[in-house]
Symmetry: C2
Subunit: 274 residues, 2 copies
């Protein structure tokens, strides 16, 4: 008998099922936390994106804008998709992810069908240290500030920090809030548009690069998925444009293993207290 | 008798009034178009932001994410604000701008109270040609591609293109989709957070820089307002990260006259057909 391929941790944790009443439900996995039991914002957005795609005639999320209303609790969640205008090129919808306490994440979703078309312009992948010479976050969790609990996310997304942007982990923060890292799922599941949505919020807070430690809760996050990623490691570059007045932005660009820009994101977060 | 200062074109065109029934209404001004009677997406988002602020205990929009469902018609519009969680630091809400045909723009809004706090990090303003040596779009409307009608927006927002990024207007497109320009309102109204929301979508499509002319309708736009802008000209730099598969992103950064980064935006748009 043929063996059934085991479902990846990501596909299991982001599964969305139709309930008997016709609604959509998910079981939020406590293992995708960023420390302290707080579920990762990118993970939650992947769940919402899966719901948007389920209710769309298009296969891929291409633009998602999410407001994080409260920290969603692990466990049962409902997903309510309100369809908007839809056509041959794209479809709009609104998605609400709710836990027992009510709406936790509200999302404006645009779905479309991504192709393998060559780009007429694509930002080139920046020079980065080869992945085999990078620093595994999972293997160096003991280097994290002692106030920080080890996030489950780091066991599911394999993050390899470019040592050129990892001085903060060795007590030598940089002048510029920028990090680069190679990412893939720890269990080898290949990237796809839904995975890129999680990758778009999977690094430590960008402010850590300049030595501002502590969590930076996401307030609003926009993710654009631009192309179908090739198998293999993705390179992520995260920059903050400004840290001021208790606020921080984080701007991600993600390239696939062929060097193609496949996703972009920007979030407004609360800045760690100094 | 003291003279009443005339209200600026921007404040008049984005005014939001409470109706007898307790709702909110605006009169969308046909003069803020981008050609062909299509109202500018940034202008529409400023109207929605004004509604969000009206219904918030906080004074400023700090994060707005908008989906553009259909081209809003000039004339009467309603604004429906659904409040979300609100606190001392920030407040969430959802805003729907509707014309006679129904919801045209849906917006997730985060309001807060911006301060004049110094930044602990702020991306420096790029080198740009001084404004007096830049190229006025309004004065050079005759250089636009003949297929393009002159947008009303160019008469209300004074855009001075850096000649170093304006080769496209002279038949010499660049390799890189990037434009820089100085912006202010034509009637001298000083910038504020609501104005920055319009400035965040006020340049010609970034694809024009590489010679891909034609309109690029906005699908989703996120604007972050980071600080209160000082009076005077703002510098805007717009870049596309990728043009592919019929899609284009436009990434704006805006600095005020003191060189402080005051706003950022990113939009996904349909790319002009080639």
């Amino acid at each position: 008998m043929p063996q059934t391929e085991p479902r990846s941790a990501f596909d299991t944790a982001t599964a969305v099922a139709r309930t008997e009443g016709g609604g959509l439900a998910a079981e939020l996995d406590p293992g995708w936390d960023v420390g302290g039991g707080i579920l990762n914002g990118g993970y939650l957005l992947s769940v919402a994106a899966r719901a948007a795609v389920l209710e769309s005639s298009h296969a891929h999320p291409v633009a998602l804008s999410a407001s994080y209303l409260h920290a969603a609790a692990a466990g049962p969640a409902t997903l309510t998709v309100t369809p908007g205008p839809a056509g041959r090129t794209l479809a709009h919808s609104a998605v609400v992810l709710a836990d027992a306490a009510g709406p936790a994440v509200t999302v404006q979703a645009t779905t479309a069908t991504l192709t393998a078309d060559a780009a007429s312009f694509s930002s080139p992948m920046p020079a980065a240290t080869p992945v085999q010479d990078c620093v595994s976050i999972a293997e160096n969790a003991h280097l994290a500030p002692s106030s920080v609990s080890v996030p489950g996310l780091t066991e599911r997304v394999d993050v390899r920090l470019d040592p050129l942007t990892a001085g903060w982990a060795l007590g030598q923060p940089a002048e510029e809030p920028m990090m680069r890292a190679w990412l893939r799922f720890a269990d080898g599941r290949e990237p796809d548009p839904l995975a890129l949505v999680t990758f778009a919020d999977a690094l430590p807070p960008t402010s850590w690069a300049v030595g501002l430690f502590g969590w930076a809760p996401t307030v609003q996050l926009q993710v654009l998925v631009r192309a179908l990623p090739a198998p293999g490691w993705c390179l992520v570059e995260a920059r903050a444009g400004e840290i001021a007045g208790g606020w921080l932005d984080e701007d991600y660009r993600i390239w696939d293993s062929t060097g193609r820009l496949v996703a972009q994101s920007r979030q407004l977060a609360r800045a760690p207290r100094t």
